[in-house]
């Protein structure tokens, strides 16, 4: 094939490594996201275990205070930005085109670009451990400790890493918003879309609107650190509270970015294994949209102790309590979905049912500190740590595991072992409750968060030891999952198209799906299309075996462009020459990208 001057020939499919490096197939990108994010999840887990080892006994001597600060900061950053968000992205990538009956996302190369930029950001952030120390200010990097006076180069890695990761998420969110709005199969109206697709759409818009605010905050922090401005430094006339506002205007929508994908997964799993359509579909959609809107009006509940003044405190307390209402609607809808259903207790179902219980605990403690006087007692104690882990581990992670067990046969053609799955579930369930429930007690007993050790005689010994044992059990549970995956992937592919009798379009194609997803574009006649077809004796259109389905060819340019972005970012961390070198790389990649034939 002729190539335009200065561009590369389109990569051929030969060579396993190159085919993965140049892939633009949404399913493969989903796998890349999933595997990378899971590795980061394990890294974040090791960081957590080190923290728990240090806190298991009073005056522990496992790690020194400096490293401890780096560990809790990097643990949070890793779990939020490198594990839970990209695990969500893995599901978006793999499932969304299948669930809306499309052959790929709207912009396949942009999709690959999102992944490679994500990887670049993850590497920048994580490499800080070995290059002069990781960020150590807590994940929200309050000023003035995030300024040059009090923190070292780790903060620069924080700023650059998060800027790069933000770029990745923005590109992905734009792609999925367009895909969901524009690429749905005939008949798949908005109010027939699976809830998981709805939640993805809401997450995409939250990202699109929240990330630029974080970007501005990070840029200003960068200027404070590198160019001696004082946006956030009171010594120079700046305003540290401004950082808190900007951070949490991003930060609270971010917590919904973390939880909504899991809520979407649970909303798919519960109907399938209750053999009943989701209860209150429309209410579910509107509750999700309401959360998406209200999520913008509550950020200052993270700042009740900064002296906001009476009126803002009342306003933000009220809005925070109101956001519990749509959340409650969802919980009751999930319960009602199971009510009267014929329930199959698969591992996926175990995880989804426990999601409801665990998320509710986190939601209730959330509403508790929505009250400013209560929050003044709880802020910066282990009570907050308990809250956020019930929503993030009990909510997001448990929901993601449910999705893994549910969609594994679709993604690989193989079933994860149910026996090991139950071990996996119970170990994780017991472990996480042992770890995080006592943190409520510790918080109320006055144990502050982010302390590297404590004295004996404060009454905190027992529950700390208890929590550390729980963390170990949780870790064993995750290990069982890894073993389950390793064993499963050596089994033959036995899963049929629709092994669970699911109702949504991804189950209308083979497991794993062919490269072009569907032989013929599916038709949707009702909500829960496959159940409608089954009950009305209808079937999905058959593909014409002779037809050549045209898929976008693989491309080098996403990888090269991501490399350029990485160089741009590494410059301020090492030598600005790297940035200067990155510019031609980016120009070259964009040039090739634009001129590359995509048909």
């Amino acid at each position: 094939m002729a190539t335009v001057a200065g561009t590369m020939a389109a990569p051929t499919a030969e060579g396993v490594v190159w085919s993965w490096l140049t892939t633009v197939d949404h399913k493969r990108i989903g796998v890349l996201y999933g595997v990378s994010a899971f590795i980061f999840f394990l890294i974040g887990g090791v960081e957590a275990l080190l923290i728990r080892a240090q806190l298991a006994v009073p005056n522990g001597g496992v790690i020194d205070p400096e490293l401890y600060n780096q560990l809790f900061t990097m643990h949070a950053l890793t779990m939020i930005f490198l594990a839970v968000m990209p695990l969500g992205a893995a599901f978006f990538n793999f499932m969304i085109p299948l669930m809306i009956g499309a052959r790929d996302v709207a912009f396949p190369r942009l999709n690959a670009l999102s992944y490679w930029i994500f990887l670049a950001g993850g590497l920048v952030l994580t490499s800080s451990f070995f290059l002069g120390g990781a960020p150590d200010t807590g994940w929200f990097a309050y000023a003035p400790i995030s300024g040059g006076t009090y923190s070292g180069s780790g903060m620069d890695y924080y700023v650059i890493g998060l800027l790069i990761l933000g770029l990745s998420s923005l590109a992905a969110a734009l792609n999925f918003a367009v895909t969901i709005i524009n690429m749905r199969a005939p008949g798949l109206t908005m109010m027939r879309m699976p809830i998981f697709v709805w939640m993805t759409l809401i997450v995409a818009f939250l990202l699109i609107l929240a990330l630029p605010v974080l970007t501005v905050a990070l840029v200003q922090l960068l200027f404070d650190r590198q160019f001696t401005t004082s946006f956030f430094l009171p010594s120079g006339g700046g305003d540290p509270i401004l950082w808190q506002h900007l951070f949490w205007i991003f930060g609270h929508p971010e917590v919904y970015i973390l939880i909504l994908p899991a809520m979407g997964i649970v909303s798919e799993v519960l109907p399938t294994f209750s053999r009943k359509p989701l209860f209150g579909y429309a209410a579910m959609v509107f509750a999700g949209v309401a959360i998406g809107f209200l999520g913008w009006a509550v950020w200052s509940h993270h700042m009740f102790t900064t002296g906001l003044g009476a009126v803002p405190r009342v306003v933000f307390a009220t809005s925070t309590m109101i956001i519990g209402v749509p959340t409650g609607i969802k919980i009751f809808n999930w319960l009602s979905t199971m009510w009267g259903g014929s329930i199959r207790f698969t591992t996926a179902m175990y995880f989804s049912v426990s999601f409801i219980a665990l998320f509710t605990i986190g939601g209730i403690s959330g509403v508790m500190h929505a009250s400013p006087p209560v929050d003044q007692q709880q802020q910066d104690t282990y009570f907050i740590v308990a809250h956020l882990h019930y929503v993030l581990v009990g909510g997001a992670i448990v929901g993601i595991f449910s999705g893994l067990y549910y969609w594994w046969p679709k993604m690989t053609g193989r079933f994860l072992s149910e026996t090991l799955g139950k071990w996996n579930f119970w170990l994780m369930f017991i472990g996480l409750n042992m770890t995080f429930f006592p943190m409520h007690f510790l918080g109320v007993a006055g144990m502050p968060r982010r302390i590297y050790t404590y004295d004996e005689g404060l009454g905190w010994e027992f529950w700390n030891m208890f929590a550390s044992v729980g963390a170990l059990i949780l870790a064993v549970g995750v290990l069982v999952f890894v073993i389950n995956v390793a064993r499963t992937m050596r089994q033959p592919k036995t899963a049929g198209d629709n092994p669970w009798d699911g109702s949504t379009l991804e189950w209308a194609t083979s497991s794993p799906p062919p490269e072009h997803d569907f032989d013929a574009i599916p038709e949707v006649r009702a909500r829960d299309p496959l159940w409608y077809d089954r009950d009305h004796g209808l079937s999905q259109p058959e593909g014409d075996p002779d037809e050549h389905i045209h898929m976008p060819p693989p491309s080098y340019y996403p990888l090269i462009l991501a490399l350029g972005v990485l160089m741009l970012g590494v410059g301020p961390l090492s030598h600005l020459a790297v940035t200067a070198l990155g510019v031609p790389v980016i120009i070259y990649a964009i040039w090739g990208w634009v001129l590359e034939p995509t048909e």
Binding site: A102, L174, N182, L209, P212, V216, T229, G237, L246
Partner: protein, 239 residues
């Protein structure tokens, strides 16, 4: 035949092309980006203690036995006042406006005109008038560059008067806000220049010329509108 549907990326439920929809949503994101920068500027502006000396103080020297403070005020207005210090001495304060509204009005006018030429370029592209498209694209690029020239001039002038990023909160938020806007204009110039260059190929901009120019135009107009907001807030609304 439904072959078109079998090409990934060409299917559209809403009838809006995927790429244009992407641009629209991206501009939504940009609103929040500039919104955050503008808020920062406004917050620091509201923080100015009265009289605004600590905010913008530049040079202090002793003249005829009393302190003279000279500096500039963000808005075009002259302060010439005498304050009594706590120790009974007094200081004279001479503040001039650092912002030059007439000059920046000119550059604003230039940018506004570039929106007009952009519309004409889109019209040319959509109606197959390729020469007119090229001419108006070139005009838009030149106007964009002139705007950037004004901005460089303004930045250097402020610098020579002593107002830099680190001088104070006004300097920091002003330069970061208008600097990012300028960067956006620059990116727009690059996009339009690439389109112009590509239009000289044998195949021109291809069958979708009108579409490409129109989508680039969306971005260009957005950047213009943002400038109108910035200009109003920084230059026109008095402190």
């Amino acid at each position: 035949m439904a072959t078109a549907e079998h090409h990934v990326g060409h299917h559209s439920v809403t009838g809006i092309d995927n790429r244009k929809l992407l641009m629209w949503i991206f501009l939504g994101s940009e609103c929040l980006f500039f919104g955050a920068l503008i808020s920062t500027y406004l917050i620091f502006k509201a923080d100015i203690p009265a009289p605004p000396i600590s905010f913008i103080e530049a040079h202090t020297h002793v003249e005829n036995g009393h302190e003279v403070v000279t500096g500039w005020f963000p808005v075009d207005r002259v302060i010439d006042d005498v304050y009594i210090n706590e120790d009974g001495t007094f200081r004279e304060v001479e503040f001039a406006g650092v912002l030059d509204i007439p000059i920046t009005s000119q550059s604003t006018f230039v940018l506004l005109m570039s929106s007009v030429t952009m519309v004409l370029a889109v019209y040319g592209a959509q109606h197959g008038r390729l020469l007119s498209m090229k001419v108006w694209l070139l005009a838009t690029i030149l106007l964009g560059l002139i705007f950037l020239g004004y901005q460089v001039y303004e930045f250097r002038l402020f610098g020579s008067e002593g107002l830099t990023l680190e001088t104070n909160q006004f300097g920091a938020s002003f330069f970061v806000l208008t600097g990012f806007h300028g960067t956006h204009v620059f990116v727009g110039v690059l996009i339009l220049a690439s389109l112009l260059l590509a239009s000289f190929r044998r195949s021109g901009l291809g069958p979708e010329a009108g579409f490409h120019v129109e989508t680039a135009g969306l971005y260009w107009h957005f950047v213009d509108i943002v400038w109108i907001v910035i200009f109003t807030i920084i230059y026109l609304i008095p402190a």
